[in-house]
């Protein structure tokens, strides 16, 4: 479980996050949603430590990530896997080396053990016989899958996904969503997903935080989101005709 406590962040005098608190649940898909430019990715970067908040704290199972010791932070980082928006695969390494990289750096496994684990993870995300290909030789959807394989290779307790299905066709996007959902329940990890895709919200939003202009306006489940009376949330959820047709009949 991850507890976010009063996170605020500003850049060059412009505040982008206002006193955000919340809890991200273990074994659940925790979604941070909101329109573009509302501070979702900034919040995610604060949670994983890529940005230091101006105030507040993030606690991983009661261990402070912001105010904790360097040793604590290092330990927490080892328990984190992250899927970036563009995959963030290392261009100079092939797929196998990319997925193996966290094991090379963070573990003392033998080469054989590492390769076994890499092959297992690649198979788990539905990719076989692409070990020796370079990132530039595979499609966007495959890059995301490789990104997921790399994120789970070191058996993380926390999985973070920054817009996992952006730039993908709807079918591939759903496949990626399903994969993340399966992995979350299979390994009982705390998954945090930043998205503005309503399909993802409905399909996999066990626990949802809605942000608007840097403030948390709503928190609940995918069942509750369509029944909320909050105007700003309804404007976001029912922005498309399809959603209106399905839920507002």
């Amino acid at each position: 479980m991850i507890k976010i406590k009063n996170i605020s962040k500003s850049f060059k005098g412009k505040q982008v996050l206002f006193d955000i608190s919340g809890t991200l649940l273990k074994g659940k898909n925790n979604l941070i949603i909101g329109s573009s430019g509302t501070g979702k990715s900034v919040l995610l970067k604060n949670i994983v430590g890529l940005i230091t908040p101006d105030q507040g704290d993030v606690k991983y199972n009661e261990r402070s990530f912001i105010h904790g010791s360097e040793q604590d932070r290092k330990q927490i980082r080892r328990e984190i896997g992250m899927l970036f928006q563009g995959g963030a695969l290392f261009d100079s390494k092939n797929i196998e080396e990319n997925v193996k990289f966290p094991l090379d750096i963070l573990t003392d496994f033998s080469e054989e053990e590492k390769i076994d684990r890499v092959n297992f993870c690649l198979e788990r995300v539905g990719l076989v016989n692409i070990n020796k290909k370079m990132p530039s030789e595979i499609s966007g959807g495959m890059k995301k899958r490789v990104g997921i394989a790399r994120a789970i290779v070191n058996k993380p307790n926390y999985l973070f996904c920054d817009e996992p299905n952006s730039g993908l066709d709807p079918q591939t996007g759903i496949k990626i969503d399903n994969l993340i959902k399966e992995i979350t329940s299979e390994y009982l990890i705390t998954t945090v997903i930043v998205t503005h895709d309503m399909n993802s919200v409905i399909e996999m939003g066990d626990h949802i935080m809605f942000l608007l202009q840097g403030k948390k306006l709503w928190e609940g489940s995918n069942e509750e989101i369509t029944k909320s009376d909050l105007k700003e949330l309804n404007d976001f959820v029912f922005a498309t005709q399809l959603m209106k047709q399905i839920y507002l009949r």
């Binding site: 970067k45 994983v48 430590g49 890529l50 360097e70 932070r73 290092k74 980082r77 080892r78 984190i80 992250m82 970036f84 928006q85 563009g86 963030a88 695969l89 290392f90 261009d91 990289f101 966290p102 090379d104 750096i105 963070l106 973070f160």
Partner: protein, 243 residues
């Protein structure tokens, strides 16, 4: 001043939270190939032609019958050791290696590859930049030594083939009143210049923000700033060690 402070903090980050020695050995070896071996061709061709042109131009200017021919190769030798090899090759090195470092790191930054390293708990600056700086500091002095030989070779070929001076005069000139400290001076220059080029280029690339346009700008800025730093350091070192 703010950038300078940020640069020094960046330099300090290279040596804090380091990875294992074994990891660095592998990375440094790879970088040595990238910055050293892959620069051999351009350094070689530039050096040979600089030697040839310097010989011809020196001969053209030393027309007095009172000046012996071997002075031409003596001038070529001292120019090669003191300035052409360490400084001019440093400018070329900044153009080739510096822009490549800035471009590589800038691309890694905008495609979130550096963030991916940070999330894994790796000190990205130390992991990515330290091997590049160490490789440059190891390889560049070797390139300078090689360049000195190639300039002298280029001068020899141009001088003897065109009949400007005899082989005997040329070889006599390059040995005449040779000051060993000049080689030490060239190596000191090479160490300083390689550190400046690699660290400035890394700094420019590492803090790139934006998109592909900014990566290009970072590469250009890396080369420009490296060249200015090299020229300032060149003057400072000359004043300190020879003034």
């Amino acid at each position: 001043m703010r950038s300078l402070g940020k640069y020094f903090i960046f330099m300090r980050s290279l040596i804090t939270r380091r990875e294992t020695f074994r990891t660095y050995i592998k990375l440094i070896t790879q970088e040595c190939i990238n910055v050293g071996y892959n620069s051999l061709f351009i350094v070689g061709i530039v050096s040979v032609f600089m030697g040839a042109v310097t010989t011809i131009q020196t001969a053209f200017n030393l027309v007095s019958p009172f000046i012996p021919d071997y002075v031409i190769s003596l001038v070529v030798r001292d120019m090669a050791i003191l300035e052409l090899s360490p400084t001019i090759i440093a400018i070329i090195f900044a153009g080739k290696v510096g822009s490549s470092i800035a471009g590589e790191l800038g691309t890694m930054r905008i495609t979130e590859q550096i963030d991916a390293l940070e999330v894994m708990g790796i000190n990205s600056s130390s992991y990515l930049v330290l091997p590049k700086v160490v490789a440059c500091v190891i390889m560049y002095p070797m390139l300078v030594i090689l360049s000195i030989f190639l300039i002298l070779l280029g001068g020899y070929l141009a001088g003897t083939i065109t009949g400007i001076l005899s082989s005997v005069d040329y070889l006599y000139g390059i040995r005449y009143e040779f000051i060993e400290f000049n080689i030490t001076f060239a190596v000191i220059k090479a160490l300083v210049f390689s550190f400046l080029i690699s660290s400035i280029s890394s700094y420019k690339g590492f803090f790139t923000t934006g998109g592909s346009l900014e990566v290009g700008q970072a590469s250009t800025s890396a080369v420009t700033n490296s060249c200015i730093a090299v020229l300032l350091a060149d003057y400072a070192l000359a004043q300190l060690l020879m003034g």
